[in-house]
């Protein structure tokens, strides 16, 4: 069953001179319950804008001009601001690329996890919330969660901060977790730990994950389904297995070819690049 369906989403940016930048153009995909969907693509392909559109956090001069985002039978684009605020954090949560700036430096870690609980679970009392926060910190693998409750973010390492971000996002047990390049700023070992953590949490809670990245190695590790975006369009959509074994669209092929393969790519040779002079949009879209 699909948790969320994005249909013909169009998010455009309008400049003062009347130019229109079609950042997300006619994008449709769906995320099944409890699965991980990856959006891959180069910088500026509209990955993050797609995520922000789901959250409806597109600021002026951008606007969602068309489409539907259906989360469990309700169209998010039709909700009022106040209703949307309830959806954010409770039903859909998000984590970001930059763990160094994603936490508010003025408040303790515990307070910030508590914040989401206080907004969306008014029935809990202080002690219950404290227990929940400590449990959340423990769940994401922060040592001494009770001690860390009162720590300020600047005392934590990058990996720990990203774990805290995940704890904040997961505190309200959202139905969908959007992860916008959550591992890009971390080194490879920490990256693997964070990915494992996300998979573990998904198994335990049944949350669906929308994972945005440009790192195909990460996609390989975590994705059930992959959406390849190029200049605001989806050029290929397939299950992860199919995509890696049998990429159909020329752009996807070019992307996959640009990764060095141990034992195959000769040493000191130049890597393949995605050829910018080719108009990949002229090829038929491979949507499976």
């Amino acid at each position: 069953m699909n948790l969320i369906e994005v249909k013909n989403l169009k998010t455009y940016f309008f400049s003062d001179e009347g130019e229109v930048n079609k950042a997300v153009n006619n994008v449709s995909f769906e995320i099944p319950q409890g699965k991980t969907v990856c959006i891959v693509g180069e910088s500026g392909s509209g990955k993050s804008i797609t995520a922000m559109s789901i959250m409806q956090l597109i600021d002026h001069p951008g606007r969602i001009v068309g489409g539907e985002i259906i989360l469990e039978e309700s169209n998010l684009l039709k909700l009022s601001d106040a209703q949307m605020r309830k959806v954010r954090g409770r039903d859909v949560a998000m984590i970001f690329q930059e763990p160094m700036t994603s936490l508010n430096p003025s408040y303790t870690v515990g307070y910030q996890i508590d914040e989401a609980l206080r907004l969306h679970h008014k029935e809990l009392n202080k002690q219950q919330r404290f227990d929940k926060v400590v449990e959340a910190l423990d769940l994401v693998g922060i040592p001494d969660p009770k001690e860390k409750y009162g720590e300020y973010p600047f005392k934590l390492s990058g990996g720990q901060r990203q774990r805290v971000m995940i704890a904040i996002a997961m505190a309200c047990e959202p139905k969908l977790l959007i992860a916008d390049e959550p591992t890009t700023a971390l080194d490879v070992t920490i990256q693997a730990q964070v990915l494992d953590l996300m998979k573990k949490l998904q198994d335990e809670t049944g949350t669906s994950i929308l994972f945005i990245t440009h790192d195909l190695a990460v996609v390989y590790q975590i994705a059930d389904e992959v959406v390849v975006m190029y200049r605001g369009h989806i050029v290929e959509k397939a299950s992860a297995k199919e995509l890696f074994e049998n990429p159909k669209h020329p752009y996807t092929k070019a992307l996959l070819n640009s990764i060095p393969k141990p034992g195959v790519t000769p040493r000191k040779s130049r890597l393949d690049t995605v050829d910018d002079t080719v108009d990949y949009l002229s090829f038929p879209k491979e949507i499976r």
Binding site: M55, L57, H60, R85, K86, V87, R88, G89, R90, A93, M94, F96, E98, T101, S102, L103, N104, P105, S106, Y107, E115, A116, L119, H120, F154, M165, I168
Partner: protein, 283 residues
């Protein structure tokens, strides 16, 4: 907090500023116990008595008396109350309006920003003391109106400082993160952003306190602020003008009081700026 005090102590002039401010507050609170006379008590027999260590000085008039035989020392001590009150109220007023305006401008941006900042620009384009004189002449000369005038004059500076520091914080990811958790605009502005943007605002308020005291003294000197017999330092200066050659102590000591107050708050503001600098905080 302990780090904060340690850092602050390293700056000797800031510590000096802090002590001047504390002394001033002490004087203001305990004025009736410290001052030997009431500020408006006249002793017409002992008019224009010089300070006690000068020839003809009397031990009951420590810093001498003015042309009505009022004890200068007592008047200066009571004057601290007025100066601190003026500072606190006018800074409070500029800060509350300036904070709201700057916050709204930076947070909402676009047309709101344009509209608010143009008002601020208009206010800035009029010389402060002139604007204060206009306000006072509309409302009538009194200490309360002088405070209102100084408060209004201060608004644009605070609005600019607040706007600048909110602008840099607004774009940080933790603000988006908090929005994603479902925070409302009010919450984002005052609970999420404000604590992180507070440093320059605190510094500006401390320094603004000094300039408010100075402006109040200026307005009173012009006869637009405190009215006699209020022991306001600026008013005391203007009273003493005609005696400048015969009784220089009348102009010297109130002037010294103003000087030390302004110096104290400025040194303290400088010290706070060094300590609260976010670059040092992260270390």
């Amino acid at each position: 907090m302990r780090d904060f005090i340690k850092q602050y102590k390293k700056n000797k002039s800031a510590v000096l500023g802090f002590f001047i401010v504390v002394l001033l507050i002490f004087m203001a609170i305990f004025a009736p116990w410290i001052a030997p006379h009431l500020p408006a008590d006249q002793d017409l027999v002992h008019r224009l008595t010089p300070p006690m260590w000068e020839e003809g000085g009397l031990h009951q008039f420590f810093l001498g008396t003015d042309d009505f035989g009022r004890d200068l020392f007592s008047r200066i001590i009571y004057g601290a109350r007025i100066s601190l009150m003026v500072g606190a109220i006018s800074v409070g007023m500029s800060l509350s309006f300036g904070l709201t305006m700057g916050m709204l401008a930076a947070y909402f941006g676009g047309k709101v920003d344009l509209f608010i900042m143009r008002i601020v620009d208009i206010m800035l384009s009029i010389p402060a003391i002139l604007l204060a004189i206009v306000v006072v002449s509309i409302l009538g000369p009194s200490l309360t109106n002088a405070m209102i005038a100084i408060g209004i004059v201060g608004i644009p500076t605070y609005a600019r400082v607040v706007r600048a520091s909110v602008l840099t914080e607004r774009e940080k990811e933790y603000v988006i993160a908090s929005r994603i958790n479902g925070s409302s605009n009010m919450r984002l502005m005052f609970k999420v952003i404000l604590p992180n943007a507070a440093t320059p605002i605190i510094v500006q308020s401390t320094m603004g306190f000094a300039s408010a005291v100075l402006e109040a003294a200026g307005l009173s000197f012009l006869g637009l602020g405190a009215q006699p017999p209020t022991p306001e330092w600026g008013a005391m200066l203007s009273d003493s003008l005609q005696f400048i050659t015969t009784a220089p102590w009348m102009i010297f000591y109130p002037g010294l009081a103003i000087f030390l107050t302004v110096l104290g708050f400025n040194l303290m503001g400088d010290g706070l700026m060094d300590v609260l600098d976010p670059k040092l905080k992260d270390k």
